[in-house]
C-alpha cells in the first residue's frame, strides 16, 4: 500500500508550544490537596546486616504522618518486583522485595520510608532515623563474583552465577580457528553507565479507600505494564489501578522498570489515606535508578589472509547487580545474539555468564545489549584490519551480508527482516570524504606531531521493533509487546489517536498525527494524539527498544485505515457510488470519473446543518460531513454502525533490524591525552521515515550518548561498593562544548514486517558511536604502538597508553 504525502515531512512538533512555554506537566508539577512528601532511608553500605532500626526519633516530630520499614512492606507486598524476561529458563533469581529486611545488598537499598507534610522537613525527619548496620564482605565486579570463594550476594542461591547460556552454530569452531591465517583476540570492557534522564523519576499516588481505587502519576515509559504490576504487588484488582504518565522528561530505558518506589509510594498512599509525592533526587537517580552495560567480553576472530572471516567466538561476563530486574536477564543474551552484526560468520560460538554483585541492578539503557554486541565486533574488526594491514572499511565490505543473501539468517539464528549494507557504507564514505581524509591523516601523522589525527568507522545492525508476540515468548519475555491504537473521529471532524506507546521526547504526538492524517486525507493539525493514561488508552506496551513506530505507529496506520474504510463506505452510500470509486484527500471525498446522480443531490443527502445554505458540490462530500453523519447516526448505509472509532492491535511477524555506518575524525593530543571530535558522520537506515527532522534528532541524541560512553561516562564503585559517582559533578554527562555537530544521512531499505516499512531509530546512534570513537582514537595512536584502550577514553587513560607503549 502506498504511503501518502503526509508521511515523510519534517512537520514541526505538536507538543512543542507548551514545552517551550514552560506549560508542560511533569510529575513534580502535580500538586494535590493534602499531599504528603515521601522520603526514603537508604543503605549506606553495599552489603550489610541491618542490626537495628529505631524510628522513635520521629515520635512527636512535627509533620511526620507515617513511617514504614521493611517488615511492614514484607507483610503487605503481595508479589515481588516483577521480572519480565526469564531467560534462560533455568536462571536463578532471588525474590526482590521493595524494602530490605535483615540484609542490604547494594548502596541505596531502601530500609525505611516516611511521609511528611512539608517537603523540606522530609530531610530533617530522615536524619532522625537510627539504623545500625553490620557490614558484610562485598563483591562488585562480575568476574570476581564468579570466582571460587567470592562473597555470596544471595546466600540462598548458593552461588553468584545467575545463569550460563551458550550458543554455537555453523562450522566447527576449533577447526575454523586452527585453519585460520590470522586470529585476533581482545578483552573488551563495556563499562557501567547511568542513564541520567534530566527529569529524575517521580511518582504521585492517590488512594480511594471506599472504592479501593488507586491513581498513580508516574514518570514512566510503560504505564500499562506499571499498572499491571502495581496492582499485582498491592493485591488490588488491575481495573482499579490507573496509571498516568504525564509529560515525561526523558527515560532512555531507565523508566521502563518496576523499581522499589513503584510499590513504596502507592503503599504510602494507602497507609496515610492521603495523596503522596516522591521525587527522586539526582543522587538517588545516579545511585538507585537502574544502571546499564557493565559487561566484559573476551572475543576472538579467525580470518583468512584476504580478510574473509571464518569464525567468531566469545565469552561474555555480565554483571546483573544485586537483583535481576525487569528485562535484565535478556540483555547479555542479546549482546551475544547480535555479535555477528552485519557479517557472514561461518562458525560462531558464545558463552554468556551472568552474576549477582553488591552493586545497583543493571537493566535496559538505550540500546540494551546491542551496543555491547556492536562495540565488541566492531572494535575487534579494527584490530583484525590492523593485523591484516587492510583498510577497515574494506574489511567490512568484504564480510558484509550482501543484498542477494536475503532472506538471511545470522550466525546466531536471527532472521534479519531486510538490509543492504554496501550502499550505506558507500554513502558514509562519500559523505565523510573518507579517501581524502585518510590521505590527509597519513600525511599529517607522518611527521609525528603532538596532535595526531584518527579516523574511526563502524557498521551496526540492531534488533528493534519489539516485538512479535510468539517470538518474544520463545525468548522468554512474559509481557505483551504488541502495538495498540485507536483512531476516533468526533462530530466536528477532529480526530483523536490513542496509542499504546508512551513517548517521553520522541515526538509521537506529531508522528502519529502524520500517520493518521495520511490515511484520512486530512491535515495533521486535525489530529490530536493521546498516550500514557491507562484509563483512556485501550492497552499498551510503552516506549522502549526502538519499538514505537514499527509496532504502535503501524497500529495507528491500520486503525486509521479502518476509519478511512468506514468513511468511504458512508460516503459511497451518500454519493451512491462504489467505495472503490472514491478518492479521499484534502479533507474531501470525491468520485473519480463518475457523475453524481441528480436525485442524490435533490434528496439533500449531502447536506449537513452546517452546509445547509450551500449545497455541497456535486460528486463530493467532506470528511467533516461524514464525521457528522457517523456521529449522529444520520444517512448511514443499511447495517452500518454509527460512530467513527476503530482500534487495531498490531503484532508484527518479526523484529526489525535497522542498520548504518558511522564515521568520525578525531584529534588526539599526545601530551594531554585529550580527544577532540572534529567530524562525525552518521548514515542510518531505519527504513521509511515518518518525520525526518525527528529521526535526525534521535540520531543526534543517540550519538551523543554513545560518544559520552566512549570518552567520559563511567559509574564507579570503590572496593567497598561505595558509589563514587553519585552527583553530576562526578558522573561526566557531556556539555554542549564537548560534542561536535553531527552530519546525518540515510539510505532507505523498507522493512517488510510492518505496513509502514519503518524500522525504528531511537537507539541507533548510541549503538554505533562507541566503537566509532574508540576506533578513531586507537587509529590516531596506531603509529605509537597502542592497540586498544578500554572505555571511557579519558585523557589520563589515553596519556598512559601512549607513554606505556612509548
Amino acid at each position: 500500500m502506498a504511503i501518502g504525502n503526509m508521511v515523510g515531512a519534517s512537520v514541526r512538533r505538536h507538543e512543542d508550544p507548551k514545552l517551550v512555554s514552560g506549560a508542560g506537566t511533569y510529575v513534580d508539577d502535580i500538586k494535590l490537596p493534602g499531599m504528603l512528601y515521601i522520603g526514603i532511608a537508604r543503605s549506606p553500605y553495599a552489603h550489610a546486616r541491618v542490626t537495628g532500626l529505631d524510628t522513635s526519633g520521629l515520635d512527636g516530630q512535627k509533620g511526620v504522618v507515617a513511617r514504614i520499614t521493611g517488615e511492614d512492606v514484607r507483610k503487605r507486598q503481595r508479589a515481588p518486583l516483577p521480572i519480565s524476561w526469564i531467560v534462560p529458563p533455568d536462571i536463578k533469581t532471588p525474590e526482590h522485595w521493595a524494602m530490605a529486611t535483615g540484609v542490604v545488598r547494594y548502596i541505596g537499598e531502601p530500609v525505611a520510608a516516611i511521609a511528611v507534610e512539608d517537603r523540606y522537613a522530609v530531610e530533617d525527619a530522615l536524619d532522625m532515623l537510627n539504623i545500625d548496620f553490620d557490614p558484610l564482605p562485598v563483591v562488585t565486579g562480575v568476574e570476581e563474583a564468579l570466582k571460587e570463594g567470592a562473597p555470596l550476594v544471595h546466600e540462598e542461591l548458593g552461588t553468584n552465577q545467575a545463569y550460563k547460556f551458550s550458543v554455537a552454530t555453523g562450522n566447527d569452531l576449533d577447526e575454523a580457528f586452527s585453519n585460520a591465517d590470522v586470529v585476533v583476540k581482545q578483552r573488551l570492557v563495556n563499562q557501567r553507565l547511568a542513564p541520567v534522564s534530566i527529569e529524575t523519576r517521580g511518582i504521585v499516588a492517590q488512594y480511594n479507600k471506599a472504592s479501593n481505587e488507586l491513581t498513580m502519576w508516574s514518570s514512566t515509559q510503560t504505564p500499562h505494564l506499571t499498572k499491571h504490576h502495581v496492582a499485582e504487588m498491592l493485591g488490588i484488582p488491575e481495573h482499579n489501578v490507573r496509571v498516568i504518565a504525564p509529560d515525561v522528561g526523558g527515560g532512555f530505558g531507565s523508566k521502563l522498570n518496576l523499581l522499589p518506589e513503584d510499590f513504596i509510594v502507592p503503599y504510602m498512599a494507602i497507609v496515610t489515606g492521603r495523596p503522596v509525592k516522591w521525587i527522586e533526587s539526582r543522587t538517588e537517580n545516579l545511585m538507585n535508578t537502574v544502571h546499564g552495560r557493565d559487561m566484559v567480553d573476551y572475543i576472538e576472530i579467525a580470518a583468512m589472509s584476504d580478510g574473509t572471516i571464518t569464525g567468531l567466538r566469545a565469552n561474555i561476563y555480565a554483571n546483573l547487580g544485586a537483583y535481576c530486574r525487569f528485562f535484565a536477564a535478556g540483555l547479555p543474551v542479546l549482546a551475544g545474539l547480535m555479535l555477528p552484526g552485519n557479517y557472514k560468520i561461518p562458525a560462531f560460538g558464545v558463552d554468556i555468564y551472568t552474576a549477582y554483585t553488591n552493586t545497583l541492578f543493571i537493566d535496559a539503557y538505550r540500546g540494551a545489549g546491542r551496543p555491547e554486541a556492536t562495540y565488541a565486533i566492531e572494535r575487534t574488526l579494527d584490530i583484525l584490519a590492523d593485523e591484516l594491514g587492510m583498510d577497515p572499511a574494506e574489511l567490512r565490505r568484504k564480510n558484509f551480508v550482501k543484498e542477494e543473501d536475503w532472506p538471511f539468517t545470522s550466525a546466531a539464528g536471527l532472521a534479519y527482516d531486510s538490509g543492504n549494507y554496501v550502499p550505506t557504507l558507500d554513502k558514509a564514505l562519500e559523505m565523510a570524504g573518507y579517501m581524502e581524509s585518510r590521505a590527509r591523516q597519513q600525511e599529517h601523522n607522518a611527521s609525528n606531531p603532538r596532535v595526531r589525527k584518527g579516523i574511526g568507522l563502524a557498521a551496526y545492525v540492531e534488533i528493534a521493533g519489539w516485538g512479535p508476540g510468539q517470538a518474544t515468548k520463545g525468548l522468554g519475555v512474559t509481557n505483551q509487546l504488541f502495538g495498540s491504537a485507536t483512531v476516533r473521529v468526533d462530530r466536528s471532524g477532529t480526530v483523536e489517536v490513542l496509542a499504546g506507546a508512551s513517548g517521553h521526547g520522541q515526538g509521537h504526538t506529531t508522528s502519529w498525527a502524520q500517520i493518521a492524517a495520511d490515511q484520512l486525507g486530512i491535515g495533521h493539525e486535525q489530529v490530536k494524539v493521546y498516550e500514557g493514561d491507562t484509563a483512556m488508552i485501550q492497552t499498551g506496551t510503552g516506549t522502549f527498544a526502538s519499538r514505537s513506530v514499527s509496532v504502535d505507529g503501524a497500529g495507528v496506520h491500520i486503525a486509521a485505515q479502518k476509519v478511512r474504510d468506514k468513511v468511504l463506505r458512508i460516503a459511497a452510500h451518500q454519493l451512491e457510488v462504489d467505495p472503490a470509486d472514491l478518492v479521499l484527500s484534502n479533507g474531501m471525498i470525491t468520485v473519480k470519473g463518475m457523475p453524481l446522480s441528480e436525485d442524490v443531490v435533490a434528496a439533500g443527502k449531502l447536506q449537513t446543518p452546517e452546509a445547509a445554505e450551500e449545497p455541497a458540490p456535486p460528486r463530493s462530500v467532506s470528511f467533516n460531513d461524514i464525521a457528522h453523519s457517523a456521529n449522529t447516526g444520520h444517512d448511514l448505509p443499511p447495517g452500518e454502525e454509527p460512530g467513527l472509532n476503530e482500534t487495531a492491535f498490531f503484532d508484527p511477524v518479526n523484529f526489525t533490524y535497522p542498520f548504518g555506518v558511522h564515521i568520525a575524525e578525531v584529534d588526539v593530543d599526545t601530551e594531554t591525552g585529550e580527544t577532540t571530535i572534529t567530524r562525525y558522520v552518521a548514515v542510518d537506515d531505519c527504513g521509511n521515515v515518518i518525520n525526518p527532522m525527528i529521526v535526525d534528532g534521535q540520531v543526534h541524541g543517540g550519538v551523543a550518548q554513545g560518544v559520552a560512553q566512549a570518552l567520559w561516562e563511567e559509574v564507579v564503585y570503590d572496593e567497598n561498593g561505595q558509589l563514587i559517582t553519585g552527583t553530576l559533578m562526578d558522573y561526566a554527562v557531556p556539555f554542549s562544548s564537548d560534542l561536535p555537530n553531527i552530519e546525518t544521512g540515510a539510505t532507505i531499505t523498507p522493512s517488510p514486517v510492518n505496513p509502514l516499512g519503518v524500522k525504528g531509530v531511537g537507539e541507533a546512534g548510541t549503538i554505533a558511536a562507541t566503537p566509532v570513537i574508540v576506533n578513531a582514537v586507537v587509529d590516531a595512536l596506531s603509529g605509537l604502538g597502542v592497540r586498544h584502550i578500554d572505555m571511557p577514553l579519558r585523557p589520563e587513560k589515553v596519556w598512559k597508553a601512549i607513554h606505556e607503549n612509548g
Binding site: M1, A2, I3, V7, S10, R12, R13, E15, D16, P17, L19, V20, S21, G22, A23, G24, T25, Y26, D29, K31, Y120, V196, S197, I198, E199, T200, D247, G249, G250, R282, T283, H504, G505, Q506, G507, N688, M693, V695, D696, G697, H700, G701, G702, A704, T727, L728, M729, S736, L739, N741, I742, T744, G745, A746, T747, I748, P750, P755, L756, G765
Partner: protein, 169 residues
C-alpha cells in the same frame, strides 16, 4: 522563622513569607506555582532551573529566595513579556527541533536568551561555550546550537538529507 520577601516575578510584584532556607527555585515552583522552571540535579550542574535575575541568567537552585528580595525575576512563563507571540528564542527552539523531552528546555531557553543579550551574534563555539551550564540529555545539543543561531538571525538550513521515500510492501 519566616522572612518577608518582595520580588517582582514576570512583572507582578509578589509579597511572601519564606523560610530563610527556601531556595529561589522552590519559591518559584511551590509558592508561586510557576512550574515551568524545573529541577534536574542537586548540585547546580544541570541548569534546568535557570531564570533571569535582574536581567542575568542564574540557576535558581543556587540562590535563596531571600537573596532575591527586591529583585526582578523572569521565568520561562514571562520571557515573552506582554506579547501574545512566543519569544524569538522559543520559536527558534520549536522550528529547529531544539528540544525532545522538553525538561531542560525552559532553562536552556533562558540561558540562550541571556547569551544573545550579551553577544547578539555569537560564533558556534561561543554558543557551545555559553550553554555549558545547561545539560540536555536528548538532543546532543546539535539542534539547540542551530536554534540559537537561528534566533541570532543566521540562515540555518532546516532541511534533512535523509533522501526520498521508497514504496512499501
Amino acid at each position: 522563622m519566616k522572612q518577608k520577601v518582595s520580588i517582582n516575578v514576570n512583572g507582578v510584584q509578589r509579597e511572601d513569607e519564606v523560610e530563610p532556607r527556601t531556595l529561589l527555585v522552590h519559591y518559584i515552583r511551590e509558592t508561586l506555582g510557576l512550574t515551568g522552571t524545573h529541577i534536574g540535579c542537586d548540585t547546580s550542574q544541570c541548569g534546568a532551573c535557570t531564570v533571569h535575575l535582574d536581567g542575568t541568567a542564574v540557576k535558581s537552585c543556587t540562590i535563596f529566595a531571600v537573596q532575591a528580595d527586591g529583585s526582578q525575576v523572569t521565568t520561562i512563563e514571562g520571557i515573552a513579556g506582554d506579547s501574545t507571540e512566543m519569544h524569538p528564542m522559543q520559536t527558534a527552539f520549536w522550528e529547529q527541533h531544539g528540544l525532545q523531552c522538553g525538561y531542560c528546555t525552559p532553562g536552556m531557553i533562558m540561558s540562550a536568551a541571556s547569551l544573545l543579550k550579551d553577544n547578539p551574534h555569537p560564533t558556534e563555539q561561543e554558543i557551545r561555550h555559553g550553554l555549558e551550564g545547561n545539560i540536555c540529555r536528548c538532543t546532543g545539543y546539535h539542534n539547540i546550537v542551530k536554534a540559537v543561531r537561528a534566533a541570532a538571525g543566521e540562515e540555518v538550513n532546516a532541511t534533512s538529507n535523509r533522501g526520498e521515500m521508497m514504496p512499501t510492501k
